[in-house]
Amino acid sequence: MKTRTIARGLSAASIAAIALTAAGCGSGSSDSSDSSSDGGTTEVNVSLENKDGKDTCSIDKTEANGGPVKFNVENKSASGITEVELLQDQRILGEKENLAPGLAPVSFTVTLSGGDYQVYCPGAETEMQDFKVTGDAAKPTGDTQELLQQGADQYADFVKDQVGQMNDAVKKLQEAVDKGDVEAAKKAYADARPFYEKVESDVDSFLLPGGSPDDNATNLDYLIDMRQSNIDKKVGWHGFHAIERDLWQGKKIDDGTKKYAKELTDNVGKLNEQVQDLKFKPEDLANGAAGLLEEVQSEKITGEEEAYSHLDLVDFAANVEGAQDAFASLKPGLEKIDPDLTKKISGQFDKVRKDLNAYRDADALGGYKAWTPELRKKDANKLSQSVQGLQDPLSTLAEKVAKA
């Protein structure tokens, strides 16, 4: 699928090197409403203004007592400032985005313990301002970093489960191919595809033992999922799409098809062994989800992925589902840092899923209408723009969780 495998954020090496730092300092929780009921909330007004041609960010307090602190943010006239963040040790504890002159003021509340913080206004004449909190605050429940890492750990189990299911599914595909049953093989092919497409961007950088990223003969993604358009002549064609061509274009199974099916089972088995050690950082999930949507745009909407079977919408749905699974794993932690973004991404996922639902067809192989050149011509624009609406906010997620 990808000719460029090692550039992914999820290379085996980076996965192995993960070290989780349990957050000890200044953890905060964010809430867009003022939830404090004990009257102990400190209010801080953040005002963004253009003064003498410069965009400025001013705060009316630089200190607060430990406890809930509510930041009221108003962009009065600073066209170059679109966000305000509260940071500690370069980690975001709370923020507001989409700020622009003329919009109603917005606020976020964080519970802060004693320590040094910064109010960060990217684009302002003075971007970083110190904010000091004295005393202690009750430890909030559920630390953001812990929540995100819990999500990442759960997601690793999900990926292993999907690869495990794919391992079973390709065996069924091989059985049908060995019997020479084209129709059964087509069905088994359609059943097996979504498992890979759901987690593809998380597992596309694995190599055979002793292999090298510049040798496709040792690249499991190449061996499992290469399309005809990207074939390396030295290595030849292997995997899913070679079988797809035989079943749909040739409409027959020969010894070559059987060889492809056997290889596929072997290679997926090797992948299944390798993923058992998978570990993720939260930003890996975010990058993986973004990678899956990139796959949707570059391979599925164009109809290049399933050039013979036209099962592209089946893969499309699986890519989106996989991205949504990754996002869902991050959601409990993300809601604490940026509830607005969480809501926005959730809403865009819902929209894409709804748009895709229009193509469901229980009678069709894989459960979705065939993505024929005719249908693509008519609807590719619509689906592509729907995905773009999701891609953009999702692309900001990795930074967000990495800084949490």
């Binding site: 962009n75 002159p101 865009q348 990495a402």
Partner: protein, 417 residues
Amino acid sequence: MKPDSGPKGIGRRGLLVGGFGGLAAGGLVSGLSVDAAHREREASAGSKIAQSHYEFYDQPHPVGVSTIPQQYSVFMAFDLTLATAQDLQVLLARWSAAIDQLMQGNSIGQVEPEHEQSVATDTGEALGLGPNNLTVTVGFGPGMFDGRFGLAAKRPKKLAKLPKFSSDRLDPAVCDGDISLQACADDPQVAYHAIRDLARMARGSATTKWTVMGFGKASAQGGQETPRNLLGYKDGTRNVSTDPDHEKFVWVGDDDVAWMRGGTYQISRKIQMFIEIWDADRVSDQNEVFGRFKVSGAPLSGHAEFDTPDFHAKGADGDPVIPVNSHVALSAPENNGGVKILRRPYNYTDGINSDGQLDAGLHFLAYVNDPQHFITLQDRLGASDMLNEYIAHRGSAIFAVPPNPARGSFIGRELFG
């Protein structure tokens, strides 16, 4: 704004000589604010370029209308997919703030953020190019007032889809739109960057519908020499140019909804030209089609470009010297109850069409305070213009263009109570 008022900063002559606007000799001038002190990492690439720029806030009229035409234009129309009036406010507010930054020659955020997991806020291709007299004009189509956002009662009185005219050969794929942006600049990449980054900002809120890239201005203001359209003729010799004519024909007065006062209506027509057929026509016939001489631009009844056409002058054969169904005769104010429109078109090309012909023409843009003025003219032109043999109107759209916001506000804020 006076139609002949130049941009802030260096003089108009400096711009015209430069073409690409690059490095004029004027040096830094007060009011020139490409200072990017707050973007230190990127300042060295983006600052200190001595170019003039236009102001976005606190203007009496929308920018990009009576503004001296810049060399290039990128126009993009969108359909709104956002759900609520509040989402629409956020889009208009973000666009307004970003347009202000872009018009000053700033990027709209970091091009190369420090955090390794960050995506860039600004896409970067205009970094270091300077403002290049960029203006961005925002238009509201009829669809914005269809009730989805509770704005039906705020609809500009004269904003309605244009009727189908005789000779129209419209392609729905390049027609209409709920909202539009036009970037004009003296560098094509500056104009494209503005539209690209604003479109990026709209993802999830609006879908792109059609776009036209204008590679050359085809109208003049403020003493510019009249440029030529792709048929080789001067375009816009008798354009609206004086302040009184702007008040009378272009700027919306107090007879429309209050928030449109000082704004205008934008008429967009993508007009394809049958280049190969035109090129094979003898020049004497081409002159008759236009009613003007090709090189001088003079009316067939006169000798110099700005001679007033004499539609009563008769030739030796007793026929009018300027044919009654020539382009100039059919569109002249004298023959249309005095009606004038402000034209601000751009030449475009879409490459080669599927029939192997050059695919090019005029992105006709006109500004009126009453769309009926354009309708009156196009009714006649569509029915009898000799030029119709060589052109086809493919795209049609209308947008209400509100005046620019005050500092601290955003375009269209008055719509939201």
